[in-house]
């Protein structure tokens, strides 16, 4: 599995990304998604740029970013494994599987392995609830996820 490539933060690219979304009504979320897609996270230094473009205060922009679970304030690992923690997945034992995997890696929810290889995040439902437990490994959906499968996936993630 190929790791995602992100650009290193730089204000010039950020300005171009913001400008490309500005024509939309309510451009804030599209801008934030585009920034995260480019850099892998939304650096603090991006806040004043977004604020200026949308004619808002920096505090307002900060408030929006911090409201949404999706927006990262720090880079994630090279791979991101999102494990579903919602009810349908729980009914198929997802919590036990997740706990074992986290223990194996010595991580807690939201943490990245020290070698920067992988971040484990919670997600609340992927709409794959009839083939639970579910996960998302980078962009790849995974159904009927058992312990062995997830361990292999994590072991092979480079």
């Amino acid at each position: 599995m190929m790791a995602k490539q992100h650009s290193v933060w730089n204000p010039a690219d950020a300005r171009a990304i913001i400008a490309a979304e500005l024509h939309r009504e309510g451009a804030m979320l599209p801008i934030l998604h585009a920034l995260q897609a480019a850099f892998g996270y939304i650096p603090r230094d991006a806040e004043p740029l977004v604020a200026e473009a949308l004619n808002l205060s920096r505090a307002e922009v900060h408030g929006v970013i911090s409201f949404y679970h999706d927006f990262r304030r720090e880079p994630a690992g090279r791979h991101v494994l999102k494990l579903c923690r919602a009810e349908a997945c729980q009914s198929m034992g997802s919590e036990v599987t997740a706990r074992r995997l986290l223990d194996l890696l010595g991580l807690d929810w939201g943490e990245t392995s020290p070698d920067g290889r992988i971040t484990i995040e919670p997600v609340y439902c992927l709409g794959l609830c009839a083939t639970a437990p579910s996960a998302l490994f980078d962009d790849e959906p995974i159904g009927r996820a058992d312990q062995q499968m997830l361990e292999t996936l994590v072991a092979e993630a480079a």
Binding site: L29, D70, E87, S91, C129, T131
Partner: protein, 516 residues
């Protein structure tokens, strides 16, 4: 020779892309000319990945497949009547599908979802044709007459909402599709967007013409990358065909749609929070009134409807309101796509008329649990819905009947749990989820849910269980009465139903998860 392998996210999650690649490679190696159509899913998820072969006797299914099965399928020569152990027979005769009344999901899984020609060939855009010929007032009347109620959870009559927007004058109006589908156990919106995207576009377009709105938004959760890609693709195709844009199908009506991606907040499924989010703000719930129908997105009159609500409209226009309204139970008219999930043997989407009992759905249609153990509880209606024990399985699937039993049908999800489920843990989770997703606007929700989690931890640790159980009930009362929206207001449903129906789970202290 024509084969079908779904491109649906759930099918891909269990290997559909690998099956498609293996089939292609095998056909090439054997020099066999095969056409592989990447269709949407039929919604029979326990059979995914499901491969279908077109034959003179209809489409024959094989599933659930593994890559290792592919070579054997070719060896058995299934394309010329050979047999294989994974054969499930003619797909449309599978009882789970044959017993459905598919109005809204009639096309799901049949064709390539991104083909406008296929959509038209299967009856698509007939509703729009009718809509354009009868005009705005008759469109709204048809939706009203159909008895359609909102499928997002609250069950509000759709026609009345539309009428309000139609009557409110403004320089600009909006149609917002709520595709935030955050409820665990639900995937009907996802299935429609991935399997029949043009139907949603058609439904939104009819709504736009009906109330005089020119801009539509689909607020689509980020957890649905396949649906996002499919909707964007379908919108581009519809635009190119003149079915979106300045002159819908050559008429004087203008309408366009833009997909907006959510950002992982469950509360943004609540309609006013969603509108805030679309405007680029924190997704905090607005006080009502004003209703979104009068002052919605950017202060303009706005229809905000669930994906399935809007997707039900083309059928109603094409086939007539009466045809929809004649099915149902009590004030719940038409069909509901019930989504059966969790620890389930035959999990998937089951569209049927209202009135079927919960027990029929769980035992008869879904065949009980995947584990083969007895069903202990069913959570109906997502994380804000009640847990039903088997003793309540005679409840008819109907908004009012569920409400009478302190439950809700919500967006139509059913999550099955077997007899290993720890209902105290599920009750604690309901509080934890509320605390995690609270928008923070009201104290009973923001603080109450956190207190709820702490109190359940005390109960599990054996600290003053009786006093603390009473405290949980108190908290639930406060949350019910003092919350602005149903996140805080309905979290007591799963909590209290677990307490009332499974009291024995709240006495012993369960082992910590890691020790199991």
């Amino acid at each position: 020779m024509k084969l079908f392998i779904p491109q649906d996210m759930a099918a891909v999650a269990v290997g559909a892309n690998r099956i498609a690649a293996a089939v292609e490679a095998e056909a090439r190696a054997r020099n066999m000319p095969l056409t592989i159509v990447r269709n949407g899913s039929r919604g029979l998820f326990w059979l995914e990945p499901l491969l279908e072969v077109e034959t003179p006797a209809g489409r024959i299914g094989y599933g659930p497949l593994t890559v290792a099965d592919v070579k054997a399928l070719f060896d058995a020569n299934i394309f010329e009547g050979g047999t294989h152990a994974k054969c499930v027979g003619p797909v449309e005769a599978i009882p789970f599908l044959a017993r459905q009344t598919r109005f809204t999901f009639a096309r799901a899984g049949i064709a390539d979802p991104a083909s406008l020609d296929d959509y038209r060939a299967l009856g698509g855009y007939k509703g729009l044709e009718t809509a354009l010929s009868i005009g705005p007032a008759a469109i709204v009347a048809a939706v009203k007459d159909s008895g359609l109620r909102g499928r997002g959870g609250a069950g509000f009559p759709t026609g009345i909402k539309w009428e309000t927007v139609a009557r409110t004058g403004a320089d600009r109006k909006y149609i917002v599709c709520n595709a935030d589908e955050g409820d665990s156990g639900t995937f009907a919106d996802r299935l429609i967007m991935e399997a029949d995207p043009f139907m949603l576009i058609e439904g939104m377009t009819i709504a736009g013409i009906g109330v005089g709105a020119t801009q539509g938004y689909i607020y689509l959760r980020s957890e649905y990358p396949f649906a996002i890609a499919m909707m964007n693709r379908a919108i581009a195709l519809a635009r190119r065909a003149g079915l979106l844009g300045a002159a819908i199908n050559g008429s004087a009506h203008a309408f366009d749609i833009d997909v907006r991606v959510g950002a992982g907040a469950y509360v943004c499924g609540e309609e006013t929070s969603l509108l805030e989010s679309l405007e680029g703000k924190r997704g905090q719930v607005r006080a009502k009134p004003p209703l979104p129908a009068i002052k919605g997105l950017f202060g303009r009159p706005t229809i905000i409807n669930n994906t399935i609500t809007l997707a039900s409209v083309p059928f109603i226009l094409a086939e007539g309101a009466q045809r929809y309204a004649e099915l149902g139970y009590g004030r719940s008219r038409g069909t509901m796509p019930v989504q059966i999930a969790g620890n389930v043997r035959h999990g998937g989407l089951f569209e049927c008329a209202f009135g079927v009992t919960l027990g029929e759905l769980v035992d008869d249609i879904a065949g009980g649990t995947a584990s083969g153990r007895p069903v202990r509880a069913v959570q109906a209606g997502g994380p804000l819905g009640a847990y039903f024990p088997p003793s309540l399985f005679d409840t008819p699937y109907d908004y009012e009947a569920f409400a009478k039993r302190d439950g809700l049908i919500g967006h139509g999800g059913l999550v099955l749990f077997d007899d290993t489920a720890d209902m105290a843990r599920m009750a604690r989770f309901a509080m934890e989820f509320c605390a995690h997703e609270s928008c923070g606007k009201c104290t009973p929700c923001r603080i109450g849910a956190v207190r709820g989690v702490e109190t359940f931890d005390k109960i599990a640790a054996g600290i003053e269980p009786e006093k603390n159980l009473a405290l949980v009930r108190d908290l639930c009362e406060t949350m019910k009465l003092g919350s602005l929206c149903a996140l805080g207001g309905f979290t007591p449903y799963p909590v209290l139903s677990a307490l009332n129906h499974f009291p024995q789970d709240f006495t012993a202290s369960p082992l910590p998860l890691a020790a199991e």
